[in-house]
């Protein structure tokens, strides 16, 4: 038999009739959006009523009312719910974007003037709260943060990944219990981690205020993040991969170390990076464990060491203008480091999706 098919129509952009808007809907939406803004602007410029009051007392109710009414005229009673939903959503969206934007822009705008080569490399010896910004910097704090985070990573990553292996790979008798404990640990407030290390190590004179004490406190906060992320990642390793290795006669240790962990490598790196991002800005535990210093200290086992978060805390507390500028500068550096770490996790997880 012969089949004759008409040549299929294939326009460049297939039509979506539902995307067409009926004129009255467009008009009513436009009214709902523009009218309250016009009223707000008019009142703002003609009266003395303060802006926030206008927004809360006039604009917001008016926005809800106009959206409700126009939507009611357009769609009937069920339009009202949709109007409330959209106004609520857009308000929440606007509020969050404004707050986040304010945080990020303030840090960039106020931190940028402080940033210079000397600020990134010099330490803080002979710097008084009023010393000009051309002298002194956060070099010692950067190195200190690096040191403390490195110690925390060396402790928390093996323990965190081992917890994840126990839960997903060994599936030991206590898997549920370990999981429960990791969850409980993720709720430990950072100040409590600091207090604990202080009580356990510093009060008992094992070491004084030092990078190792700070690293231990950080490790407590980092472990649950690493363990939980690693658990999710290891779960993604297909059962077939393990089965294949077991069927080839591998021992359990070999299956885990040679097959499972390499398969999940990028995911595990993501877990580590997330863990670092979680701790790197924490101030409270370090105040109680590393204390603060103006000099560069690379000995992890003795003497206080400065870190970026504590540096910010120190200079913010002093109250002088140049000190506050230093605090903003350090905050900008910290924010950039966090952004890089964050970008790294997204880059890694994109790669992971590409491979699997």
């Amino acid at each position: 038999m012969t089949i004759t098919l008409e040549k299929p129509i294939n326009p460049v952009k297939p039509p979506k009739p539902w995307a067409k808007r009926n004129k009255s809907t467009v008009i009513s939406n436009a009214i709902a959006v523009i009218f309250p803004i016009l009223v707000l602007a008019a009142l703002f410029f003609t009266t003395e009523i303060p802006g926030p009051v206008l927004v809360v007392v006039v604009f917001f109710p008016l926005q809800l009312l106009t959206a409700g009414v126009t939507s009611f005229m357009d769609k009937g009673k069920r339009g009202i719910g949709d109007a409330v939903l959209s106004v609520g959503c857009v308000t929440a969206f606007g509020l969050v974007v404004a707050l986040l934007g304010s945080v990020v822009l303030s840090v960039i705008a106020r931190g940028f003037p402080a940033i210079r080569f000397s600020f990134l490399t010099q330490n803080n010896i002979y710097i008084s709260p009023t010393t000009d910004l051309t002298y002194g910097g956060i070099g010692h704090a950067l190195l200190g943060t690096l040191l403390v985070v490195l110690i925390a990573t060396l402790i928390a990553v093996p323990l965190g990944i081992a917890s994840a292996i126990y839960i997903t790979d060994i599936k030991g008798r206590a898997a549920g219990f370990v999981r429960f404990m990791v969850q409980a640990m993720s709720g430990v407030p950072s100040i409590v981690a600091g207090l604990f290390i202080f009580a356990a190590i510093i009060l008992t004179d094992v070491v004084g205020f030092s990078a190792i004490a700070g690293g231990l406190a950080y490790a407590i906060l980092m472990l649950p993040t690493v363990a939980r992320t690693a658990e999710e990642v290891l779960r993604l390793v297909p059962k077939e991969v393990r089965d294949a290795a077991v069927a080839l006669g591998s021992s359990r240790a070999r299956v885990t170390m040679r097959i499972v962990l390499p398969t999940a490598k990028t995911g595990l790196i993501t877990a580590v990076v997330l863990g670092v991002a979680r701790i790197i800005g924490e101030t409270a535990p370090l105040l109680l464990t590393t204390s603060n210093a103006n000099n560069t200290n690379l000995n992890p086992f003795s003497d206080p060491v400065s870190t970026i978060p504590v540096y910010i805390f120190q200079y913010l507390g002093s109250g002088y203008q140049t000190s506050i500028q230093r605090a903003w500068g350090a905050a900008l550096v910290l924010l950039i480091v966090v952004a890089i770490l964050f970008g790294l996790t997204r880059y890694l997880s994109r790669n992971k999706r590409g491979n699997v």
């Binding site: 719910g81 206590a174 100040i191 409590v192 109680l288 605090a327």
Partner: protein, 329 residues
């Protein structure tokens, strides 16, 4: 020979069950052993926290008695040391409640926006933005809260007082609006909005498509379908997310330290007054110049904070887990 015994009617063979495969080789045993030891590190740490904070603060707790948590005085002068944390304990809860009142509606609407309303590209961007917000260190939020946000929020507080001051909640008898629980609540809200939004977004996005189809196929508008299908489905997860946010709010230290006046005189409801409390921030504030006994009292305050957050966090995880299990059945 054995087959004959099997064929006797009624004599069913005994089944053999396979337990976990035992580690055979020496290296395997070593491997499993070390993994188990490492996996128990969380238990070890949690127990150690309880023991160290408990044993160090025990003498002070015994000496102060129940008034450690119910009294309102903290003094090391006059030779008599009095350590009572009630205003800090209450203030911690008050700040957290104000934070939740602001954060919960914003987070739920934001999650609904991301999942159901926003165009797909915008919702992808927003998901990332929320993750960034979650990653901003609390020290930076504190810095911003202290130097940027306090002025703005104090202005809001002043307006609230000016127009609604007749409501006791918005009364202010100090004519000073900075460093109030109101501002601390806002700062906490900014820190917990991402937590609640992330959890809510995840559970809302898991609303079964067939239920949404059913609601829309019956003539449900978007808001109606959300109210009748998505929110009931996500309720457990959202409550769990709120509890996680609460846990974070209770333990927040540095941001609160910079935006709140810590006063050892309980401020029950006047949220615009520059008087408040927060255990974690109080610990940082007192730590630098503390006497040895005072240090032990601070460890005791930390112990109470630890137990409180542990409880909230476990409850949160339990609620999230239970709601997920219900969905599976």
């Amino acid at each position: 020979m054995s087959s004959s015994t099997l064929e006797v009617p009624g004599n069913t063979p005994t089944p053999r069950y396979f337990g976990r495969e035992k580690s055979r080789t020496k290296s395997d045993k070593l491997f499993s052993g070390s993994i188990i030891v490492a996996a128990l590190s969380s238990l070890f740490v949690l127990t150690a926290i309880l023991i160290y904070l408990g044993s160090n603060s025990w003498p002070v707790l015994v000496e102060q008695g129940i008034s450690f948590v119910t009294g309102s005085e903290w003094s090391t002068t006059d030779g008599v040391e009095v350590f009572q944390i009630w205003p800090m304990l209450y203030g911690t809860l008050l700040n957290a409640i104000i934070g939740l009142v602001i954060a919960v509606p914003v987070s739920v609407f934001l999650a609904l926006f991301i999942v159901f309303l926003a165009p797909r590209n915008l919702s992808k961007v927003l998901t990332v933005v929320i993750d960034i917000l979650a990653a901003i260190p609390s020290g930076i939020i504190g810095l911003w809260g202290f130097l940027v946000f306090t002025d703005t929020a104090a202005g809001w507080g002043q307006l609230l007082n000016q127009y609604l001051g007749w409501i006791p909640l918005f009364a202010n008898d100090q004519n000073q609006f900075a460093r109030s629980p109101f501002i601390a609540g806002w700062v906490l809200a900014i820190m917990i909005i991402p937590i609640i939004t992330v959890v809510s977004r995840e559970v809302l996005a898991q609303t079964p498509q067939e239920l949404l189809d059913a609601a829309r196929g019956l003539g449900g508008s978007l808001s109606g379908s959300i109210r009748m299908v998505a929110l009931p489905h996500a309720r457990g997860g959202i409550v769990g997310g709120v509890m996680l946010g609460l846990g974070r709010a209770l333990g927040e230290t540095i941001a609160i330290y910079f935006v709140l006046n810590l006063i050892f005189d309980v401020n029950i409801y006047k949220i615009l007054n520059p008087e408040g409390g927060a255990i974690a921030s109080m610990i940082v504030a007192k730590f630098g110049e503390a006497t040895p006994n005072e240090i032990n009292a601070l460890l005791g305050a930390g112990l109470i904070l630890f137990i409180m957050t542990l409880f909230v966090n476990l409850a949160a995880n339990y609620i999230v887990k239970r709601s997920q299990r219900e969905k599976l059945i």
